[in-house]
């Protein structure tokens, strides 16, 4: 989708775009599984994040780290949860390794220089399995993105994600 938008904007909007705006200010990898109830419960928040931040220069990519997943399982998952995001099937776990995530749902945020600035949970709705707040009181991911967009210096931050663990690849 982002690619299509980019091409469209290049075709129609090139004169009005400065080069700085073309470059993403942050990219977010959201690690998910098709059958993890905690990850799925965050689908509406993922859509809200996209609505709130994509137009401001944040790129979101869903990452499916389970190697054996079929393409049709991924496409029905996207459809069922109304997710209109770019996705990557991380069969060789290169994204898992680069970001160091362990869980779904877990996010990794990279700044404009491709530095990892945040790894962990989207917010604090879950503190433990079965302990779910009705509304989050800490919005870690939103805070990091707001800081990046405001141009504030962001030191690496980390929280412990709660959800379904990403299994190691066979043979690892």
């Amino acid at each position: 989708m982002t690619l299509i938008r980019l091409i469209l904007s290049l075709v129609f909007l090139v004169p009005s775009l400065s080069s700085a705006e073309e470059k993403e200010k942050a990219s977010v990898w959201i690690f998910v599984a098709v059958d993890c109830p905690i990850a799925n419960g965050y689908a509406p928040e993922m859509i809200r994040l996209q609505d709130d931040f994509e137009s401001r220069g944040v790129a979101f990519t869903l990452i499916y780290p389970e190697p054996a997943l079929s393409e049709s399982a991924i496409s029905s998952h996207l459809k069922d949860y109304a997710l209109d995001l770019d996705y990557h099937h991380d069969r060789d776990h290169s994204y898992v390794k680069k970001s160091g995530v362990t869980t779904t749902p877990e996010v990794a945020v990279f700044d404009a220089n491709d530095q990892l600035v945040y790894r962990g949970k989207i917010d604090n709705r879950y503190t433990e399995f079965g302990d779910r707040r009705n509304t989050a009181t800490e919005t870690y991911l939103r805070d990091v993105l707001s800081d990046l967009l405001a141009g504030n210096p962001v030191e690496f931050r980390e929280t412990e994600a709660i959800g379904c663990f990403i299994e190691a690849l066979a043979g690892n």
Partner: protein
């Protein structure tokens, strides 16, 4: 003898040499016994765990939830009387699972695998005598807070029935968390149904005339033992008090229940003993914001010999622990139920392996504690707020309930009257409070000052917060969360009668 021992040793040696933990030999038995009844196609749990591939895919997650004892869900302490169908892993089983992962999740020899238990498909107890489905589906949104909603199933039974078991089949398993089956013989629930344009209604604006138990995921539907059965009088509707968790996508729930009837009325009638009664309404639950260990206690003395079959608790988010103890006349103490990590999500009913006989004179004591501090992640309020007894899930309740029968069938009336006296006590507390503040004589003035919008009715928001729940329970007979002039007249009559009674 000597040769037999050496043969045994020979057999043992290769075994311990190949101490590798494998899926088929060591893990499958744990999973099939404890997980698969819910974690399989068509059942309530989120993913299937019925073969090597499926268990291997989720192994680390399984190990983690086993270790924290989040799964299998079982909240009753195992240190006391034994319960039926205990879903509780031993420390050794949890350690075995962890060592299997450490060894790289070896599959092992399929020849050593136990066969998957023969889980029944569809109705677990066979074809029901009566199947009832919600008239239309209720839409659960993708996101947002938990939802508590009541659905009315009109039965229009021409005759009284006796119910051995109720089985529930949800249409949207991932969102339906639990459902309690209440009876309403007044038609009130029916009249509330759909008033806000959606199927069912919110809040507990009807008087429960009975209960047929409930459904919690993970519990195998069971018929009541012996000839026991719950009464289902003709003219009663079933009200499904249902709790939903949004799942991330919109789901539509249209519940079906199956009723299993007894052929004949039971020889002894079931009588619940709830301590404190009224789900804790009279226990004065009023928990200051920030209080981390607020405790309520209540006792009930059995007037007759009693045979307890099951026990369960009810409370909301900030309850932490509950314990029900029976002190027998000879001084012996039996802990009937202890929960040290109350979780509103898993309101189970625990069936004693053997019925527990409690002689007349036994004192049943409940102790329930709450944590209303900011450190309690289950606290629905940030920052914490004062929490009192009430029907909303963000209010609190607290009680433990024994289900059983009097040992002698003839004792039913005595026992039933004793439990009613307990309930009456609560209402008389409310009455006494209103009398003390001379409400009856000042009713017109009070009415005028409370009726802010001057429509002649006292809406819930116009009632004093402290008494709102109790007043609506006592007086709001049409369940519209507002007191109309005739309901207020009933308050006056009730208080006058009470006062007359007290003056005598």
């Amino acid at each position: 003898m000597a040769s037999r021992i050496s043969t045994a040793l020979l057999l043992l040696v290769p075994c311990s040499g190949a101490a590798e933990v494998t899926y088929h030999q060591d893990i499958a038995p744990i999973v099939y016994q404890n997980c698969t009844s819910c974690h399989r196609e068509g059942e309530s749990a989120p993913f299937s765990l019925s073969n090597y591939e499926e268990v291997s895919r989720k192994a680390k997650t399984i190990a983690r939830v086993m270790d924290g004892r989040y799964m299998p869900p079982w909240h009753a302490s195992i240190d006391h009387l034994p319960f039926r169908d205990m879903r509780r892993l031993s420390d050794e089983e949890i350690a075995r699972f962890a060592s299997w992962i450490e060894a790289g999740k070896p599959e092992g020899d399929p020849a050593t695998a136990p066969s998957l238990p023969d889980f029944p498909k569809g109705w677990q107890l066979g074809e029901p005598d009566l199947v009832v489905t919600m008239a239309s589906a209720y839409e659960v949104p993708a996101d947002g807070p938990d939802i508590y909603r009541n659905f009315v199933l009109p039965l229009d039974l021409p005759e009284d029935k006796w119910v051995k078991a109720v089985e529930l089949r949800p249409s949207a398993r991932s969102v339906l968390h639990h459902s309690l089956f209440f009876l309403d013989d007044s038609g009130t629930a029916r009249s509330l149904d759909g008033k806000d344009g959606k199927p069912g209604f919110s809040g507990m604006g009807f008087r429960k005339s009975g209960s047929l138990g409930g459904y919690v995921p993970g519990v195998t539907a069971q018929k009541l033992p012996g000839d026991l059965a719950r009464p289902l009088p003709k003219g009663s509707d079933i009200v499904l008090a249902t709790h939903f968790h949004p799942s991330g996508k919109v789901e539509n729930e249209q519940t079906t229940i199956g009723l299993y009837f007894a052929d004949a009325p039971p020889s002894r009638q079931l009588q619940e003993v709830q301590v404190p009664p009224g789900f804790g309404r009279g226990a004065g639950i009023d928990i200051p914001a920030g209080e981390s260990n607020y405790v309520i206690e209540d006792t009930f003395t059995l007037p007759v010999d009693y045979e307890a079959i099951s026990v369960g608790g009810h409370a909301h988010y900030i309850c932490e622990t509950m314990k029900m103890t029976a002190t027998l006349p000879d001084g012996e103490e039996k802990v009937l139920l202890e929960i040290t990590d109350w979780d509103m999500d898993w309101q189970d009913t625990y069936y004693f392996t053997e019925p527990v006989i409690l002689p007349a004179g036994t004192v049943i004591k409940s102790v329930i504690s709450y944590d209303n501090s900011a450190n309690n992640p289950d606290n629905p309020h940030t920052p914490p707020q004062r929490i009192k007894w009430g029907r909303e899930s963000t209010d609190e309740m607290g009680s433990l309930t024994l289900v059983g029968v009097p040992v002698e069938a003839d004792d039913f009336t005595r026992l039933s009257r004793a439990t009613k006296v307990e309930r009456a006590k609560i209402l008389s507390n409310l009455g006494r409070e209103l009398i003390n503040s001379r409400v009856a004589s000042r009713l017109p003035q009070i009415m005028k000052s409370l009726d802010k919008n001057r429509d002649g009715n006292l809406d819930a928001s116009e009632l004093p917060e402290r008494m709102r729940g109790a007043l609506l329970l006592k007086l709001d007979t049409d369940g519209d969360k507002s007191l109309n002039p005739s309901e207020l007249q009933a308050l006056k009559d009730w208080l006058e009668n009470l006062q007359a009674g007290e003056n005598v």
